[in-house]
């Protein structure tokens, strides 16, 4: 039986380092190639030696697909393609292709230049790697080779995030990457058609959460910012350069517009300017509102948001500043934080999760005195707010996607084992389908039962269709034809044509049967009696009395001959071809029962 094997090298019952191997119909595909944020050693990259013992990957993998530009989905790409060695095609969407190298370069700089690591990929490697990338459009079917095809669907989450359908013949797998089922201020919701894949590989970050309406969060956020600004305070929003930052920018920008506010909003420069540029370019990937209004004004051309300069931090009066990085552990955001922390009028809003040990985490857990380098202490008087803006589907969203795609089985990755367990059980219960949650290195195997398509000759199909009422699509129907398997293709043709093609002559199989009945009448009369008898019994069939002394029922021949010695014993010769076996057999038994006693 054909089967599909899925092996997570990362992200199996885990968040981070997404990397999933799929073997489908004899093809091997790698889905995502991410790094793990939590590690600084070998564990940060997927274990490619699982696939091949230290040789190049090219002969093992047919293609690599990257779902979006987050580093835990594409961070290991240069390492894999240049250092381990892969020359095959790498597929990603246009925005991902544009933004991915910026992030990789940034990541490389931090690791090599700041932390001083060696044996890491170089800028050149990133460039070389990006040369192998093939960009795809949404809903574009890309033929990787003759059999393997992939297709991208919109996934929300971040700009350019996509879900991918991988299809070989009639077997298919859908990989969601990260997705979001509720739209936000700049991106739409994930969407997929009813493609009925054999396996749906879904992320499950929020497997056990059903989230509140995003409107409350937005409103809260805006209210807090607004109040602080009105008080004359300054608002610091530490963000990562891409993704949420743009959503919050749009949110504030439109609010400022609506409310006619004048306080300046700044965005710390660096990555962001480049990134915003791409957001402006890829307007088709954003949500309805931005797409519809960009003709009048591109929403990412911010009217109120200007580039930040270090000197602005000391300006008097209210202002809002977005600064990187998001966890307040270094850089500009920390710098500004130090300046503003002393004033109770100011406010810092943390829009995302903070790792333990960072300043962000400390202030969120309520610490009021922070120890800084050089044994200084910093008193935090400013207000600290937490506001979660996350773009992953919640449990309900995951279920909704499953309902949309109608897969035959589901495989969960990118989530914690315990939470997956719950969702797995729910999926099995609600949809009555298999659900897998393999750990890293574990292989999940699904047996598929693909249909075998057969070409049918049009004439044959029409002939068969003409025989009865329209075929009911829900019910199978038998038909008469010859199946020819030749040159790796299957064809169903009419028997005559098959014979002609194969150069065979047609053989007829005929059955004959003699039935003896007692009938005192003459041969001619007997025949008449049989004729009228059959006529009365077989109403639907055409029965003919031929002049040469035979009765034809459809194509079945009945002849009467009387033995010379016993004139009252008549021998009936019944002859039929193989195709009429059913009717012929019936006729024989009917005649064996004898004729009705005709009185006249």
């Amino acid at each position: 039986m054909p089967q599909i094997q899925v092996t997570p090298l990362g992200a199996g019952q885990d968040v981070g380092r997404s990397c999933i191997l799929v073997s489908i119909g004899g093809k091997n595909v790698m889905l995502d190639c991410g790094m793990h944020m939590g590690y600084n050693d070998d564990r940060r990259f997927p274990d490619f030696s699982y696939i091949t013992q230290n040789s190049r990957l090219t002969e093992f993998l047919d293609c690599v697909i990257i779902s979006h530009f987050h580093l835990d989905h594409c961070g290991a790409l240069p390492y894999m393609s240049e250092m381990v060695g892969f020359d095959g095609p790498i597929y990603m969407t246009h925005p991902t292709k544009a933004i991915c190298p910026i992030l990789l370069e940034d990541y490389r700089k931090i690791t090599v230049d700041k932390k001083g690591e060696t044996n890491f990929f170089t800028s050149q490697m990133i460039k070389d790697c990006m040369k192998k990338v093939v960009a795809v459009n949404l809903h574009q079917t890309v033929q990787v080779d003759d059999e393997l095809e992939i297709k991208a669907y919109y996934a929300g989450h971040v700009l350019g995030a996509a879900m991918f359908q991988i299809k070989v013949g009639l077997e298919s797998v859908v990989y969601t990457g990260d997705y979001n089922m509720t739209p936000d201020r700049h991106l739409g919701a994930a969407w997929i058609d009813k493609c009925r894949p054999d396996i749906l590989i879904s992320e499950s970050t929020y497997a056990t959460t059903i989230r509140d309406s995003k409107r409350c969060r937005e409103r809260d956020f805006l209210k807090k910012v607004h109040e602080t600004v009105e008080r004359g305070g300054k608002v610091l929003i530490p963000v990562f350069a891409l993704g949420r930052a743009q959503e919050l920018c749009i949110l504030l920008e439109t609010f400022w517009d609506r409310m006619n506010l004048k306080a300046p909003i700044y965005f710390s420069t660096g990555l962001t300017e480049k990134a915003n540029h791409y957001y402006k370019l890829f307007i088709t990937w954003t949500n309805q509102k931005i797409r519809k209004t960009f003709v009048q004004r591109n929403m990412f051309e911010f009217k109120h948001i200007k580039a930040f300069d270090r000197s602005y931090a000391d300006n008097p009066g209210p202002m809002v500043v977005f600064a990187t990085p998001g966890m307040l552990h270094a850089g500009q955001s920390l710098h500004i934080f130090k300046k503003w922390a002393g004033n109770e009028k100011n406010m810092v809003i943390m829009p995302g999760y903070c790792v333990q040990g960072t300043v962000g985490h400390k202030i969120l857990s309520g610490q009021k005195k922070l120890e800084m380098e050089g044994r200084q202490t910093l008193e935090v008087k400013m207000q600290v707010e937490y506001m979660s803006f996350s773009a992953h589907a919640d449990a309900k969203g995951i279920m909704q996607l499953i309902r949309m795609a109608e897969p035959r089985s589901v495989l969960l990755v990118h989530g914690e084992a315990k939470k997956m367990e719950f969702l797995k059980q729910k999926i099995e219960q609600e949809f009555n389908i298999n659900c897998f949650m393999p750990a890293n290195g574990e292989t999940a195997t699904t047996v598929t039962n693909p249909n075998v398509p057969v070409d049918i000759a049009l004439s044959l199909l029409k002939r068969e269709a003409a025989l009865g009422p329209l075929p009911d699509p829900k019910k199978p129907r038998t038909m008469h034809g010859t199946l020819i398997m030749k040159d790796n293709s299957l064809r169903l043709v009419a028997p005559e044509q098959a014979l002609k093609e194969l150069g065979l002559s047609e053989h007829q199989l005929r059955f004959t049967c003699r039935v003896q009945i007692q009938n005192p009448q003459s041969e001619q009369d007997t025949l008449n009696t049989i004729y009228s008898h059959l006529k009365s019994v077989l109403k639907e069939h055409s029965i003919q009395h031929l002049p040469d002394g035979t009765v034809m029922v459809e194509s079945i021949l009945i002849k009467v001959s009387a033995a010379a010695e016993e004139p009252s014993t008549k021998t009936l010769l019944v002859s039929w071809s193989y195709q009429d076996e059913e009717l012929g057999g019936y006729l024989c038994t009917l005649l064996r029962k004898g004729l009705p006693q005709s009185t006249g």
């Binding site: 509720t182 739209p183 201020r185 739409g188 919701a189 969407w191 997929i192 058609d193 009813k194 056990t208 959460t209 059903i210 989230r211 509140d212 309406s213 995003k214 409107r215 409350c216 969060r217 937005e218 409103r219 809260d220 805006l222 209210k223 807090k224 607004h226 439109t254 517009d257 609506r258 409310m259 006619n260 949500n287 309805q288 509102k289 969120l364 857990s365 309520g366 207000q383 600290v384 707010e385 937490y386 506001m387 449990a395 309900k396 279920m399 909704q400 309902r403 949309m404 939470k419 719950f422 059980q425 729910k426 609600e430 269709a465 009422p469 329209l470 075929p471 009911d472 699509p473 829900k474």
Partner: protein, 968 residues
């Protein structure tokens, strides 16, 4: 040239037909008598050598209308060509033309049914068959009475249902849906025909392999439902299955189907699959449609969200689930932000700001009890309101509105969600949710935190949003005095930020005060900043913010008599001033030591209205006695009555429309009477001049007044329109007579007479139904004499007219139930400003115009702005359709910009701005029937004698402007 061409066509035509007469049935002779369109078409078709040519001719032919009498001939020609034609595209076009032709007004297509069915039997091309079925459908719908033909058509459709092409099956189903018999046949002979169970036949195609056919089947079923057939409940399960169809149009139709069934059988019981419980069908359907709110296709989502709004029978338990998403986090039950806000509020600690992990989940959820998806209606509206497409969000908001109006507990619950929608990214959605909240505000009381969110929107830069919000606040109930204070503070902030909102803010505070007198009372000292010992400085009376506070306080004081004790002296003075200057905002108060000027409580109001209505009736009655009076007395009576009515209109705003209408009508009569005074007509010829001038002025004025009567009032019925037209006719007759007496020679008179007779004829045509009420009137007499009039000479005609005019009686005017005069008030510009608007001459300056219009029908086309410059130059500006808002029934708001320009002046001068109501007599209420078939009306003499004109209907406002000479 044209005549020559025509002749040639006729020649050719006759030739061709003669040839055909040899071969064809003699019935074709009929065509000879009507050589019209059919002729040309026939020639063209005969000339056509290739299918492309033929197609071109047919397309050309289709652009012109065909008169009903010649339709049949044309159809015959078309059919003839149809049989001969080998190219299927031409046949297709012919078939579609047949359908179009059979829709011609006044043509009964029963004679072509047989032919159409015949052609259908011999046709091979699927597309042509489908088109022919479409034609049959058109024929069938034209003959709703003919059961036999319908049955035949249905049978034809059933026969073609097995066709392999989806297009044919589609059309068959459509035909079945439109024509399938809804009830049992009555007559005997029909029963003998095989009566098909249309519902069953259509139902079989719910499972067709082609999605388009499935859709068509559902639509046909819905069509049957619309035509009054009771659908069977058994379809319900089929329809539910179709909800999970692969194709969106099928799902969309299925949602409708489920909805229809849920309305038909709300109370029947259906089992829940996979359990042995049973629920009401309407609840089940509600759950299923709720599911569709998270469908993959937004078209379906919009449909589902819309339909949810109209399911009022659903149980409250199910309804409330649509707002509950059953939040959880890490398998723990979590409260929504709304719940938390409520709790914070009730514990007295408001807006503490959220802490890290403030939303920490509470109790642990039972893993088995959590149903992630099959919980039916759960959170349908939460999803709908968060949808990506604003169409879905608007539909969800509207659905919430209708549901909340029927259930107050649901209204309470959906409040938070609606308030959240105030923050939507699309203005339309925000506006819509504010309107919705206003509509349901009778059912709810806002909490402080909710009010806070609502008020935050007051700073919105969009004027529409702010005004909608003011409107909302007018109808809102709040719970505490803090709320009132909060609202006041925010409104004052709004006032300083957007001074143009002044009127709207004041009005809002008026209602707020009148609604919550007891809540305002404790705030009064603070609001008026009075102090127990010290005198506080007197606030500035011209400060809009201070006026706003006073409006709030005075309106609250109206139903709270103790409040006035808290006022200081200047407050009383300010009251007196405001009561005079802003009487619509400041109510009469019972103040100590002051006499109340107009004592009028509500019961007195009602009775006074009744009495004035009676007065109106009586005065009109009195006028009818006029016939028996002398000329002098009659005139006096009319004058008095007009005066009375005008005064009544001023006193009773409710009756203003009716009173003014009758007054104007009576004035017309008075003028007519004066114009016809016997004395004048008996004077000798040389003295004509003077009386002529007077009478013709009267006639002109009557004409003007009749246009006002016809177009300025809404709520007129045909009867009143007829009376108005009648007066106009009289005035025209008067003009004609006057003309005849002054002008010399017969020639000019001839044409005027002819025109007048045409008008009489038109009057008769338009108001045939009303003629019975015109006994003893001018028109009746005229119509009696019509044959004579047509024959006689102009001078005789004038004589007849003169006598009829003077003998004709006075027509009773019966007032319709609701009669309103269109009015307009210009709010902006106010005309108070002394600072001229300066601009460089030759360039333009934009003047903001803001006006309210009441009882104006179709303001988009009729309302214009007129600007009159001091040099007498007048411009008329047409506002754009987008400049009109519709805040309530019968009310419109015009917010537009008027561009002014002029050459340089030496000093600033005033221009006048006023609104005009444009009218055109051809567009009178008796609208002309439009030709049914085509778009071009070039052949019709449509607007021959329509009179375009304008009526000023607002006071003009003066604006100082100053175009400066250009500096070089």
């Amino acid at each position: 040239m044209a005549a020559h061409l025509k002749k040639r066509v006729y020649e050719e035509f006759t030739k061709v037909v003669q040839q055909q007469q040899h071969e064809e049935a003699p019935a074709k002779k009929l065509r000879l008598t009507k050589p019209s369109k059919s002729a040309a078409l026939h020639i063209d078709l005969c000339k056509a050598t290739t299918p492309t040519d033929a197609l071109q001719y047919l397309l050309q032919f289709a652009r012109k209308p065909v008169e009903p009498e010649s339709v049949e001939g044309v159809v015959r020609i078309l059919l003839e060509h149809y049989y001969k034609e080998t190219d299927s595209s031409v046949r297709l076009k012919i078939a579609s033309l047949l359908g179009l032709l059979s829709k011609t007004q006044g043509f009964l297509p029963d004679c072509i049914v047989d032919d159409a069915i015949n052609t259908l039997n011999n046709e091979k091309s699927h597309q042509v068959i489908a088109q022919l079925l479409d034609t049959l459908l058109a024929i069938g719908t034209q003959l709703p009475e003919n059961q036999t033909i319908r049955l035949r058509l249905v049978e034809v459709a059933c026969r073609h249902l097995t066709d392999t092409s989806f297009g044919v099956r589609n059309k068959c189903l459509q035909l079945l849906g439109c024509l399938g018999s809804v009830d049992k046949p009555v007559s005997k002979e029909l029963e003998s025909m095989v009566l098909k169970d249309v519902q069953k036949i259509i139902g079989d195609y719910f499972n067709d392999q082609d999605p388009r056919v499935r859709t068509a089947a559902i639509k046909a079923m819905l069509q049957l439902h619309e035509r009054g057939m009771k659908l069977q409940q058994t379809i319900y399960s089929q329809a539910c299955k179709l909800l999970s169809d692969d194709y969106e149009q099928v799902r969309s139709a299925a949602v409708q189907m489920v909805w229809v069934l849920s309305q038909l059988y709300p109370e029947s019981i259906v089992p829940i699959p996979s359990s042995n419980e049973e629920i009401r069908l309407v609840d089940d359907a509600f759950g299923k449609i709720s599911h569709m709110v998270s469908d993959g296709s937004w078209v379906v989502r919009v449909q589902a969200a819309k339909l949810l709004g109209s399911m009022h029978q659903v149980s409250a338990h199910f309804l409330e689930q649509t707002l509950d998403k059953k939040l959880m986090s890490d398998l723990r039950r979590k409260r929504t932000a709304h719940e938390r806000a409520k709790e914070l509020y009730s514990s007295g600690e408001f807006s503490s700001g959220r802490k890290w992990a403030d939303d920490a989940p509470k109790e642990k959820v039972d893993t088995y009890a959590v149903n992630l998806i099959d919980s039916g209606a759960c959170g349908a509206f939460v999803h709908g309101l968060e949808d990506e497409m604003f169409e879905v969000r608007i539909a969800a908001v509207e659905a919430l509105c209708t549901l909340a109006q029927s259930s107050s507990s649901f209204a309470e619950k959906c409040l938070d969600f609606l308030v959240d929608m105030f923050n939507d990214e699309i203005e339309e959605v925000r506006l819509q949710s504010i309107h919705v909240l206003r509509q349901i505000s009778n059912n709810i009381t806002l909490r402080e935190d909710q009010l806070d969110t609502v008020l935050a929107v007051l700073e919105d830069s969009s004027r529409d949003i702010r005004e909608a919000l003011h409107e909302l606040l007018c109808y809102t109930n709040v719970s505490t005095k803090e709320c009132i204070q909060l609202a006041l503070v925010e409104l004052l902030k709004n006032l300083t930020k957007y001074p143009t909102d002044r009127n709207s803010v004041w009005k809002c505070l008026k209602f707020l005060g009148a609604r919550h007198p007891t809540l305002v009372l404790p705030l009064v000292p603070e609001l008026l900043s009075t102090h127990p010992y010290f005198d506080t400085p007197e606030p500035d009376m011209d400060d809009p913010a201070y006026i706003a506070v006073l409006v709030l306080v005075f309106n609250a004081a109206k139903s709270c008599p103790t409040m006035s004790a808290l006022f200081s002296d200047h407050t009383f003075r300010h009251y007196a001033y405001l009561r005079d200057s802003l009487s619509h905002l400041v109510p009469p108060l019972r103040l100590p030591g002051r006499k109340l000027v107009s004592v009028s409580d509500s019961s007195g109001m009602a009775s006074s209205e009744e009495s004035s209505q009676q007065f109106l009736r009586q005065s009109l009655e009195r006028v009818y006695t006029i016939q028996h009076l002398e000329a002098q007395g009659a005139q006096e009576l009319l004058e008095f009555t007009i005066r009375d009515l005008q005064r009544l209109g001023e006193l009773q705003p409710e009756l203003a429309g009716a009173a003014e209408f009758s007054a104007t009508y009576l004035r017309c009569q008075l003028l007519l009477m004066k114009g016809l005074q016997e004395k004048l007509w008996n004077v000798a010829a040389p003295l004509y001049l003077k009386q002529n001038a007077m009478a013709s002025a009267a006639a002109r004025q009557i004409l003007e007044e009749t246009y006002k009567l016809e177009f300025l009032y809404s709520g007129l019925e045909t009867r009143q329109v007829a009376i108005v037209h009648h007066v106009r006719l009289q005035a025209k007759a008067l003009q004609l007579v006057l003309n005849a007496r002054t002008s010399r020679g017969v020639e000019p008179l001839l044409s005027i007479c002819e025109k007048f007779l045409q008008e009489v004829d038109a009057f008769q045509r338009c108001f045939v139904a009303e003629l019975t009420h015109f006994q003893d009137s001018f028109v009746e007499k005229l119509l009696e004499l019509m044959p004579r009039l047509l024959a006689c000479k102009p001078l005789d005609l004038v004589k007849i007219l003169q006598t009829t005019l003077r003998q004709s009686g006075f027509l009773h005017l019966r007032l319709p139930e609701q009669l309103h005069r269109a009015t307009a008030t210009i709010i902006e510009p106010t005309g108070e400003s002394d600072n001229p608007l300066r601009f460089t001459s030759g360039l333009v300056v934009a003047l903001d115009v803001d006006a309210t219009l009441e009882h104006v029908q179709d303001p988009h086309n009729s309302v214009k702005v007129q600007v009159v410059y001091p040099d007498g130059q007048a411009h008329i500006i047409h506002p754009r359709p987008g400049d009109f808002r519709n805040p309530g029934p019968g009310r419109h708001r015009l917010i537009t910009q008027v561009y002014l320009s002029h050459s340089a002046w030496t000093e600033p001068c005033q221009i006048e701005v006023r609104l005009l109501l444009a009218y055109s007599s051809s567009k009178s209420r008796t609208s002309i029937l439009k030709p049914a078939w085509n778009e071009s009306t070039d052949g019709l003499p449509a607007t021959e004698n329509s009179i375009e004109g304008t009526i000023p209907f607002s006071k003009s406002v003066k604006v100082f402007i100053m175009p400066k000479p250009t500096r070089r």
